[in-house]
C-alpha cells in the first residue's frame, strides 16, 4: 500500500509542476485560440478600427470584423468531402476578415438544428451547413431566426420554399466531370490503340440525380475522345464506405474496365486502381500521393467563391439568391493538376481548349446529339426540379438541343439513363 501512496504522491507532484509550467504557455495560446471571442467582444465595444484595409468604404456597409460566419460540417477534416468545405470556409473568412466559427461532426439529425441555433446564439450572421441531409434542419432554423442568413450546399428546397433567409448552392460540377472525362478519354485512346477494350467503370453512391449527372457527364467527356467507349456503373448505396467502394472498383476491374472513376469520396476506388494498375480519375481532390502510378486528374468544387459572395452580400446588405450555382468562370469548378506520369502528353492543352469551349458555350456537356436513350434520340425530358415526395416531373429540361443542367436549380437533376452506360445494380 505504501508503494501505491508514493506513486500517487509522485503523480500529484508531476501534475502540480505541469500546471505551473502550463500557465505561461497557456496565456498566449488562449489569446490565439480565443480570437473569435475577442473579435465578437471587440465588435460590441466597437472602439478599435478594423485592421483590414480592404473594407468597402460605404455608408451602410457593415464592418467585416462585426460579421460572424458559422459553419456546420458533417465530419471533421479526416473526410475529404468536409475538408474541401473547411478549406474554402477558412480561406474565405480570412480573405474577408470576418470571424469564423465551426461545428464539426454534426450528424443529419436534430443536432444539426441545435448546432445552427447555438451558432446564432453565439452571434453568427450567416450559418452554412455542408451536407445534403442537413437541409431540412437548416430550414427549420431559418424559419425560427429570420434575421440570420442560412445557406446550404447541395440542397434542393430553397427555390420553392420562398424563405428570404434560406439559400441553396451548388456548382456546375458536371462540367468539371466532363473535363476530367476528356483527360480520361485521351488515356483510354492510348490504351485502346495498344489493344485494350474501350470499356470504363464508375463507382457510384446512390442512384441519385447528382450521381447520375456526374457519371454521365464524365462518360460523355470520355466518349468525346473515344466514341465507341462503353461504361459500367456499380453503386455502393452509401456516400462514404471505403470497403464497399474498393469492392465495387474491383468488380468493375474484373468485368474488364480498363479505366475507372468514382463519385464517392473515400480512397476505396483509387487504392483498388493503384493495386490493379488501372488509371483512375478521382473526385474532390488529388489522390496523387497515394496513387502516383494511376491517378490522372480530379475535379472538385471550390467553395471559397461562394462563401466570399455570401459575406459580400451580408456586408453590403444585398439579398442573397435562393439558389446559387458556381461555374468554371466563378472559380467554383476546378481541376487538380494533371498527373503527367499517367496522363497522355498534350492533355493540358486539350483541357484548356475544351474549357474555353464550355465557357463560351460552343461545347454543351449534355448535347442531345451525343446521347440516345434506348436507341432513340433524346429531344424532350421532364425533370423533377421542384422537390416533392411524389417525384413529380415538373420542368422541361431540354431545349436548343441540349439538356439544361443546373440552370433551373443549382443541385443536379439530370437523371437520364443514356445508352452506352450499363448500371450493374441500382441503389434507391
Amino acid at each position: 500500500m505504501k508503494k501505491f501512496v508514493s506513486m500517487l504522491l509522485a503523480l500529484v507532484m508531476v501534475v502540480s509542476l505541469a500546471a505551473c509550467g502550463g500557465s505561461q504557455t497557456s496565456a498566449e495560446s488562449a489569446v490565439e485560440e480565443a480570437v473569435v471571442e475577442a473579435a465578437v467582444e471587440k465588435a460590441v465595444a466597437d472602439t478599435t478600427p478594423a485592421k483590414d484595409t480592404e473594407v468597402v468604404e460605404s455608408e451602410d456597409a457593415m464592418d467585416p470584423s462585426d460579421l460572424t460566419f458559422g459553419f456546420i460540417f458533417l465530419h471533421d477534416e479526416n473526410s475529404t468531402y468536409d475538408r474541401n468545405f473547411m478549406e474554402g470556409a477558412k480561406a474565405a473568412c480570412e480573405n474577408k476578415g470576418v470571424n469564423y466559427l465551426e461545428k464539426v461532426g454534426i450528424p443529419e439529425t436534430n443536432e444539426c438544428y441545435e448546432a445552427a441555433a447555438d451558432l446564432v446564439d453565439r452571434g453568427a450572421d450567416i450559418v452554412f451547413a455542408d451536407s445534403f441531409g442537413h437541409e431540412s434542419f437548416i430550414l427549420q432554423a431559418a424559419q425560427e431566426f429570420p434575421e440570420v442568413e442560412f445557406a446550404h450546399a447541395t440542397g434542393t428546397m430553397a427555390h420553392t420554399e420562398n424563405l428570404p433567409n434560406f439559400h441553396n448552392a451548388f456548382a456546375d460540377i458536371y462540367q468539371g466531370r466532363y473535363l476530367a472525362g476528356v483527360a480520361a478519354g485521351m488515356k483510354l485512346k492510348e490504351l485502346v490503340d495498344a489493344g485494350a477494350e474501350p470499356k470504363v467503370g464508375y463507382v457510384g453512391a446512390f442512384t441519385y440525380a447528382e450521381v447520375i449527372s456526374g457519371y454521365t457527364a464524365w462518360f460523355l467527356g470520355v466518349r468525346s475522345i473515344v466514341p465507341e467507349a462503353t461504361m459500367e456503373v456499380q453503386f455502393t448505396g452509401s456516400w462514404y464506405d471505403e470497403a464497399l467502394e474498393k469492392e465495387a472498383a474491383q468488380t468493375l476491374i474484373n468485368n474488364g474496365a480498363v479505366l475507372l472513376s468514382q463519385h464517392a469520396d473515400s480512397m476505396g476506388a483509387p487504392t483498388a486502381c493503384e493495386e490493379a494498375g488501372i488509371p483512375d480519375v478521382s473526385y474532390n481532390g488529388s489522390t496523387i500521393d497515394a496513387c502516383p502510378n494511376t491517378f490522372i486528374v480530379s475535379s472538385r468544387i471550390d467553395w471559397t467563391p461562394y462563401f466570399e459572395y455570401l459575406i459580400d452580400c451580408v456586408l453590403n446588405g444585398q439579398a442573397i439568391p435562393a439558389d446559387w450555382c458556381g461555374s468554371i468562370e466563378t472559380g467554383s469548378v476546378v481541376l487538380t493538376d494533371v498527373n503527367s506520369n499517367v496522363a497522355v502528353a498534350g492533355t493540358d492543352e486539350k483541357l484548356a481548349e475544351v474549357e474555353a469551349g464550355l465557357i463560351d458555350g460552343s461545347i454543351k456537356v449534355f448535347d442531345c446529339n451525343n446521347m440516345t436513350v434506348e436507341g432513340k434520340p433524346l429531344d424532350s425530358y421532364m425533370a423533377d426540379v421542384d422537390t416533392d415526395p411524389n417525384y413529380e416531373k415538373d420542368t422541361e429540361a431540354i431545349s436548343d438541343g441540349y439538356f439544361h443542367e443546373s440552370e433551373y436549380r443549382s443541385a443536379p437533376y439530370f437523371d437520364v439513363m443514356i445508352d452506352g452506360i450499363t448500371t450493374l445494380n441500382a441503389m434507391f
Binding site: S26, V104, N110, D121, S136, E210, D384
Partner: protein, 368 residues
C-alpha cells in the same frame, strides 16, 4: 499461462467488503480529480492549451446558455429512458445489447405512421396510433430474442446484437425507398409544414413533454423493480434460475415478460426521438445511445434513480467535449480522448470499491 518459475505475481486482486459510504464517495471523488488531472496533462502535452480554459469551455458548452441547458436536459432524458428500458433485462442477467435496434424500430414505426397517416386522421388519433405502434414494434424486437432464449436457450447477447442490424438495414431500405428527392437516401423532416405528429412545444419549450414522459417512466420502473412481485421475480431469476424454479417462478415467462417490457420502453424512446426531437428517421436516430445506455445503467448499478446522475454526467461530457472541438478548432477525436479518460477513471473507481490490490510481500509466499 503460468510462468515457469512459479513466482508469485507482483500483486493480486481480491474482493473486499463494501467500504462505508463516505469511503465509497471519497474513492469516486478521487477518481474524478485524477481523471481531470490526467486529462489536463494530456491536453497540455498534445495541444499546449491551458487545461483550466479547456474545462471552463467544456462547462460553457454544456450549460452556457439556456438553449444549451435544455439541449443537455433533452439529451440526458433520451439516454436515461434507454438506460431505464434495458435495466429490467439486465437485472435478470439477460444481456440485452439490442436497445439500439429496439429504439430504432420504435422510431421507425412512429415515422411510418407520421408519413402515411399524417393529415389523414385527427391528431389525437394519430398520436395514439404512433405510440401504440412504437411500443408494439419495440416489444416485438425484444420478444424475438427472449422467445428463443426461453425456448432454446440461445445466446441473447448475439441475438439482440444481430437484431440491431436487422433494424438498421430495414430502415436503410425504407429510407432509400421513400427518400426525397428521389434516390437521395434521405426522408428529411416529416410533415415540416403541417407539423402533424410532432410532440407540441409546451410553454415555448419543445422538449418539456419528452422530459416529463421520461421522468414518469423512470420513477415507474424504479417502483416496478423494487416494490412489486414482478420486480422481485426478476431479481431472483437474475441471481439464480434454479432458485427461481425451486420457489415456483416460471422463468421462461419472466424472461419473455421482462423483455417485452424492455423492448416496449425502448419503443417509447424511439417514439420520443422521432416525434419529439428529430421528426425524421435515419439509421443514426438512436445515435449509439442504445450502447451508451448500457454504461449508464451499469455505472448506476442498475438503479433507475442513480441513472439520472450517470446519464447526466455522460451527456455533460459529450456536450462539453463537442464545444472544445468547436472553440479551439481541435479535432473531434481529441474531445473523445478527454471524455474517454474521464469515463475510464469513473468506471475504474468502481473497481477500487469492490476489490483490493494485494501486493506481494517481499520474501513471503502467499497461497493463491
Amino acid at each position: 499461462m503460468n510462468s515457469k518459475t512459479h513466482k508469485d505475481p507482483l500483486f493480486h486482486i481480491s474482493r473486499k467488503d463494501p467500504p462505508v459510504w463516505w469511503k465509497r464517495f471519497g474513492i469516486r471523488i478521487i477518481a474524478v480529480i485524477l481523471a481531470l488531472v490526467l486529462a489536463g496533462i494530456v491536453t497540455l502535452l498534445l495541444t499546449k492549451l491551458n487545461p483550466i480554459d479547456v474545462y471552463l469551455t467544456m462547462i460553457d458548452g454544456a450549460v452556457g446558455t439556456k438553449r444549451r441547458v435544455w439541449a443537455l436536459i433533452q439529451k440526458t432524458a433520451m439516454l436515461l429512458i434507454i438506460a431505464v428500458a434495458i435495466t429490467p433485462a439486465f437485472r435478470m442477467r439477460f444481456w440485452n445489447i439490442g436497445a439500439e435496434g429496439q429504439v430504432l424500430i420504435g422510431g421507425f414505426a412512429t415515422a411510418v405512421v407520421m408519413l402515411k397517416l399524417g393529415g389523414k386522421v385527427p391528431t389525437p388519433v394519430l398520436f395514439i396510433i404512433m405510440v401504440v405502434s412504437a411500443i408494439a414494434a419495440g416489444a416485438v424486437w425484444g420478444f424475438i430474442p427472449a422467445f428463443f432464449k426461453a425456448k432454446s436457450n440461445t445466446n441473447e447477447t448475439l441475438f439482440t446484437l444481430m437484431m440491431n442490424y436487422v433494424a438498421i438495414q430495414l430502415i436503410g431500405y425504407f429510407v432509400l425507398e421513400w427518400s426525397v428527392p428521389k434516390g437521395s437516401g434521405q426522408i428529411g423532416i416529416i410533415n415540416q409544414k403541417t407539423q402533424e405528429g410532432w410532440i407540441p412545444s409546451v410553454g415555448g419549450n419543445a422538449y418539456l413533454v419528452n422530459v416529463i414522459v421520461v421522468a414518469a417512466i423512470t420513477i415507474a420502473i424504479a417502483i416496478y423493480l423494487n416494490r412489486t412481485k414482478h420486480g422481485y421475480e426478476i431479481a431472483v431469476v437474475g441471481d439464480s434460475q434454479n432458485t427461481a424454479r425451486y420457489i415456483g417462478i416460471d422463468v421462461k415467462k419472466v424472461i419473455i415478460r421482462t423483455m417485452l417490457l424492455s423492448g416496449a420502453i425502448c419503443g417509447i424512446a424511439g417514439f420520443l426521438l422521432v416525434s419529439g426531437q428529430d421528426h425524421t428517421i435515419t439509421k443514426d436516430t438512436a445515435g449509439g445511445n442504445g450502447f451508451t445506455a448500457i454504461m449508464v445503467a451499469w455505472l448506476a448499478k442498475f438503479n433507475p434513480l442513480w441513472m439520472i446522475l450517470t446519464a447526466f454526467i455522460i451527456c455533460f461530457l459529450q456536450k462539453g467535449a463537442g464545444e472544445i472541438a468547436t472553440m479551439f478548432n481541435l479535432n473531434l477525436a481529441f474531445a473523445d480522448i478527454i471524455t474517454g479518460i474521464i469515463i475510464f477513471f469513473i468506471v475504474g473507481s468502481e473497481f477500487f470499491i469492490d476489490y483490493k490490490i494485494v501486493f506481494r510481500k517481499s520474501g513471503k509466499e502467499v497461497a493463491a
